[in-house]
Amino acid sequence: MSFSPPFGPPDVPGRLTDASRLLDDADASARLAAAVPWASPAADEFRVALARWRALLDGDRAAVAATLRLAAGGTP
């Protein structure tokens, strides 16, 4: 986890890298949750909702990466 030093330049790339890592953690947790061994229509609906939600995470991951690239001096 990155924190801005009290005196010195803020570690923006470090923060965004940590955010990206946490996003991966969240996705991994969701993937495990989707594997719940519960057979019912409600469970099927849950898996569909979760898959839709995880697809949105892909977009978030791309947004974090673009911000990171720009902050590191590249192009978004």
Partner: protein, 551 residues
Amino acid sequence: MTPASGAEPRDTLVVVGGPALSRVDADAVALAAARLDDAAASLRAAAMLSIGAAADLRHAAWVGDPVPDGAAADPAVLRQCAALAADVADRLSERASACLLIAQRLRIAAGLYRHTESTAERVLGGLVSALAAGAAHGVTAALRSPAGRVVVDVAVPAGLWITSRPGAGPDAGPDSRPDTGPDPGTIRVLREPGPRPDPAEGVIQGLTRASAPITDEVVAGLAFGVASAEIVRAGGSLGVTGGARVLNSAVHDLVPASRVDVDPVADLPSWRPVWAGQPSGTVAEALARTADLYPWGGGIAGRPVPGVPEGTLAVEQVEHADGTTSWTVLVPGTQGLLPADHPFDAVTDLDLMAHRAADVTVAVERALAQAGARPHEPVVVVGHSLGGIAAMALASSDGFRHRHRLGGVVTAGSPTATFAAPRGVPVLHLENDEELVSQVDGRSSAENPATRDRVTVSRALRASSAAGDRAASGSVARAHGMDTHLRTLLFARDAGSAQVADVVGRLEALLDGQSARSRFFTARRRLDVDAPVVLAPGAPEVSPASGRTAR
């Protein structure tokens, strides 16, 4: 706790009771939901980091701070980067909230979600109960005094006369009539019904929404106060049942003795509903048919108003493919405060809440007997409001269960928590906070008795984003209307609640069949000229008809 305002209707559901998942399934679902909680926590942390990065970047752009590792230093690029980081933070926060919602829905669907009152709600509830109890005790004691008796003897009959005049009943105005459409006999439950004009906007709506969460505590407190002031008349009960007994005794001291006659209606009356002769088939259709039995109709869009006479109940004889027969009894609710000629009134409400013999339960039994129901044939009783209380009174009556095999109970908008339901019989209660009626038993929906067979589905309408729910949340009449309860059932089924699916499936096995015969009966109240003059209340007797304590 009540969900935040603006929630999707399905997220305002509270489901209690029903079969528990197997231990293995429950553990697995709980673990999956916990993993989603973890995922949401990770996303919230990521959002906080992004917010921090955005702040750092804005600061760097403003003061020209150096950025490490030869990163972007152009203020315009830094500002663009800050905007991107802020956008990322918003997205991640939104994603975390959605993740928590998926976890909550999973818990609701699996019956693992437990509605809990916040500490503030509990403290407020306790305070309200205490205040109401004190006030009710004082008023009841004052009315026992000689001066108080004079007030009661004059004011109560006058009030009853005024409110029992034609047109003074609930929903008696023209606005209460539903739209009729070309598609008779079908249910068209609108998830987002258009708002109907309501003259009582503003203050009344606000009061209704504000009072909804504490109605049960107010009633419990009032009941305690009334019962504790007249403990003998309360039969030793300091709860809602005791309070109702005190009021019930007072009312019966004033109104003349009567009896109920139950008459079959001719097979082809002019108002015969289009659905007559077909089995209800579903819980939703049975409830809609029950609402059709109000003289003014049920307020459900697209259903014609049969225009049945007051005091009508229906009995369906359902024939199944395996040659067996079941029965469905449809019992509507209160149709006047104190009408002269039928028992669907406030007196019966009090009789039922006092757990005493009531004319409507007598009417149901006589209708079943006249229709030819045999003891081994299962009977499903479906009721709205007063009809639902009557259904639960019958379900808890040993006498009724001795004469009939109880197949199931469905209630909508009924205060039923004081009644016990037999084991093995599917029971479904539909309630909401804002109708206020279902909390008259002194318990919130979440506090209703919950067993494997007995499921309560409720909603906080005021928290819903649906226009129809928002409108209903500010009007007791709309919140109590059948269309609102049907929406609650629809959302509960959409949410995939395993508990609701189980109890509804068991009920619909009896409601549906190959064919059905519908019979209609009118319950008429007649003055009992043979009744002895009671000079002093005596010990309660047990009614041979209902098996309950006679009033």
